[in-house]
């Protein structure tokens, strides 16, 4: 129960990041809908859309799919610049990088969930859960982008990769779409919607912030780091500022 009217908020996603995420999610949903409409033309919802849109429904579907694809690729390219050339972006990739400790976290999570250990593993800024989401999207976007481009520009690539290349691209494009859609539904949507800790929805993608309680519960190690850096700042050690990203980035992790 929050007694403070001015509850402390911690930045989870900056405005830039929230916009990137929004572009990603709208393009993803559009791609999924227009993509599966091609594969299942007799599905009821597809038939409805055809009667709604009339004559050019099929062509409209195709154009929408391609526009959304371009948006997704554009956001991805922007993101590449973001994580290469901005301090926050560079820190983002550093923090998302996975290693053996994440496998250990996964194992410890399982043991905790089945009741074998009494302690929950503690997570920093990104748990194995979020790292999995991020790198799955990276993988998916690359695979779908490449196969999608081969299929879209069929007249250019057909002489290069031949008919069997097209068939393989089609198969990959279809099954990767299934994998990606299911991963979003089953994994991402569980943790941001159906997870009892956040239900009905974790709003960080809109507001960009988390409360102290949320930080304590989900990212306790990150909270620890932030408080430590606050302390050292207060004690006036200017050197420490160089360890963290430049300028005001250190204050980006929290705001009151």
């Amino acid at each position: 129960m929050s007694q403070n009217t001015q509850e402390e908020k911690f930045i989870r996603m900056t405005l830039n990041e929230r916009i990137q995420h929004l572009c990603l999610l709208t393009s993803f949903i559009t791609l999924v809908i227009t993509g599966f409409a091609l594969k299942f033309p007799e599905a009821l919802w597809v038939q409805w859309s055809r009667s709604l849109l009339g004559e050019g429904a099929f062509e409209f579907r195709g154009i929408l799919h391609r526009i959304a694809a371009v948006v997704m690729v554009a956001v991805s390219v922007y993101h590449l610049f973001y994580i290469s050339f901005t301090p926050r972006g560079r820190k983002l990739v550093r923090d998302l990088w996975f290693g053996l400790s994440d496998i250990t976290d996964l194992k410890n999570s399982f043991l905790y969930l089945i009741g074998r250990t009494p302690e929950r593993p503690l997570f920093g800024r990104f748990s194995y859960i979020e790292k999995a989401e991020y790198w799955a999207v990276v993988w998916g976007t690359v695979v779908m982008g490449i196969t999608g481009s081969l299929l879209w520009f069929v007249d250019i690539f057909l002489p290069v990769i031949s008919n069997s290349g097209m068939e393989i691209s089609t198969a990959i494009h279809y099954y990767e779409a299934i994998l990606a859609s299911l991963a979003i539904l089953v994994w991402h949507f569980y943790f941001i919607i159906f997870n009892p800790d956040v239900y009905p929805m974790n709003k960080a993608w809109i507001t960009g912030t988390l409360t102290r309680e949320e930080m304590e519960h989900e990212h306790p190690l990150e909270l620890e780091e932030i408080e430590k850096s606050r302390e050292t700042e207060d004690s006036g050690t200017a050197e420490l500022k160089k360890v963290l990203p430049e300028d005001d980035e250190s204050t980006e992790n929290y705001e009151s």
């Binding site: 033309p41 969930l113 393989i168 990767e176 994998l179 089953v186 994994w187 569980y190």
Partner: protein, 363 residues
Amino acid sequence: MKDGNPAAGCSDCHGNHTIEGGEVLRDKRKRITEACNKCHPGVMDKYKHSAHGTEMLKNNPKAPMCMDCHGEHDIKATLSSDEFSKINQVEMCLKCHQDQKLPHKNYKGEEVLISNYKDSYHYRALKEGKTNAATCSDCHGSHEMKKYDDPASKISKQNIQQTCGQSNCHIKQLSEYVGSVHETAIREKNNYDSPNCTNCHGNHQIMKNNETGSQLSSSKGLVQLCSGCHNSVELVRKYNLPTGRINSYNDSFHGLAVRGGSKTAANCESCHGYHNVRNSKDSTSSINKKNLPQTCGKCHPGANDAFLNTAIHVTDFKNESPWVFWTTRFYMIMIIMTIGGMILHNILDLRKKVQEKNAKKNH
């Protein structure tokens, strides 16, 4: 009278001393046929062998005789008579052959009604004054009309393509059709399931290909038409046709596009042609390996040898398209394991959190 030769006079039909009239006269069929036969033997011969004539000789009261079409006393020369104009003779035939009056049997032996000719493009063209369009006698003959299952009939399975392709009519289409795999099957193997003109275009109710009443006006309709035989388990088995053609097409991008409403994606005839469908081994076939670049090039410019390395209609992926087969299998396993693992993880997570919530409540 006709240049000095005696045409039929009163006694030729009515007799001289035993003059008969009206109904009695009608019953004396032999008298009539002999009377007309005196001057019109060729026509009479045709008539006697026709379906009308054989019925008449059996004393069928419904069977038409000469005067039923040509009149009794006011017989006019057919070629200049208004009654026998291409569009007016239709009314004459429909007097008996319309709707409930006289059914006829189609090539399957089913009784159908000839009521739809007036909806056909042929009839509408005649009404617009295009006098080369087909009327009843163009296809059925004027005196020699025989039933479909009579091998000598102009509309028999073996003969109808010649009838449709007669001079002044669909000559080009006939020349395309002759030699095709469908036509050869009928002519050389007596395969009466193989399609000829009426199987795809209809007969009495023929529409132009681009009219919505025609099954050929849309890609979807066309695929359905070809599916009738090429997706029929019975016919595929009976004639050893290649299997899985329609299903493999429907799963391909072209098939999906057509099912989705595309008007430009390839359908059966885009690759196989329509009248001149030939086996891929035939060097003139649109789907012969040598000709594929040209056929596919109609829509995909610049694609040459690209097509030659794999079958288009794939029915056995494991052997014909192993890369696709194993990619699919790999992904299936990946999906089951990954998503399965995720579901398991989250069910456990949910369960644990619910447990914790309940534990808190109870304290």
